[in-house]
């Protein structure tokens, strides 16, 4: 082939159509905003019911996760993501979607290797690196504290 790989890569970039940027950004803003507003509404409700802020937001997390699981099962959540992109992936509901989707899909491969393993396909890395990074930060803080810097 007379054209090298680098040149081909640049050429492909040129001829490949890209998604329109602005509409996507606006849609992500709207969907993300709405999900967070629902979260706020739920938190306020629980706090009005007499719960502490921490407990109220924990309940909110559960409600958002449960709603996302149901919407995923009814095949509605994928449509929300298709429309809202990051707006539906960034909130905790996107995390819930990434847990339930493989669980449903790989049910046919059994309880252990199907659901059990695959439920972590996308969520596993999030949990691993979340725990790992906060642990590393914790160790740093611990050392700084020991030296009296913090």
């Amino acid at each position: 082939m007379e054209i090298n790989k680098k040149a081909y890569e640049a050429y492909v970039k040129e001829v490949t159509p890209v998604n329109k940027k602005w509409p996507n950004i606006v849609k992500a803003f709207l969907v993300g905003g709405i999900i967070c507003t629902i979260g706020q509404f739920s938190t306020n409700m629980f706090m009005n019911g007499g719960l502490e802020k921490e407990a109220a937001s924990a309940w909110t997390t559960l409600i958002l996760i449960a709603s996302s699981v149901i919407l995923t099962g009814l095949n509605i959540y994928p449509k929300i993501v298709k429309f809202g992109g990051a707006g539906a992936l960034v909130p905790i509901t996107g995390f819930a979607n990434s847990v339930v989707a493989p669980a449903v899909e790989f049910k046919s491969e059994g309880q252990i290797f199907g659901i059990g393993c695959k439920i972590f396909t996308i969520a596993g890395p999030v949990i691993l690196y979340g725990i790992l990074s906060s642990w590393i930060l914790g160790v740093i803080a611990y050392v700084l504290k020991a030296f009296g810097i913090l």
Binding site: T61, I119, S134
Partner: protein, 118 residues
């Protein structure tokens, strides 16, 4: 006012991530990891909590908030249990989110069937 802040802040975070996704072709899985790690770093340097107190659900519902609460858990347990606390705090703080997602996710797999995309 709560609602306006939640809407605008949550919306803005999502819009920024959308820009990042469209420009880098990063897969959603990587984006989620990035958000959680960033959240815990922002928490550790003391930025996220004040921001979250101000923005409410706009800051706690995005996965950045999940990262921040991981850090908060580590910090809190470290105060109580010293070095061992660093190992305890993350899972303690994220217990509701992770258990909720896994348990509801499992129940979802019992109830629902795989469906075709249209």
């Amino acid at each position: 006012m709560d609602y306006v802040k939640a809407f605008v802040v949550g919306g803005l975070i999502c819009a920024l991530i959308q820009i990042l996704m469209d420009n880098t072709k990063l897969m959603p899985g990587r984006i989620m990891v990035l958000l959680v790690v960033t959240g815990s770093i922002l928490g550790a340097i003391g930025i996220y909590q004040p921001f979250s107190d101000w923005a409410g659900a706009g800051a706690t519902v995005p996965l950045l908030g999940f990262g921040n609460s991981l850090w908060k858990g580590v910090w809190k347990s470290m105060g109580e249990d010293g070095f061992l606390g660093i190992f305890k705090g993350g899972f303690t703080a994220s217990a509701v989110g992770i258990s909720g997602a896994l348990i509801f996710g499992y129940l979802g797999s019992v109830i629902f069937k795989p469906k075709m995309k249209s």
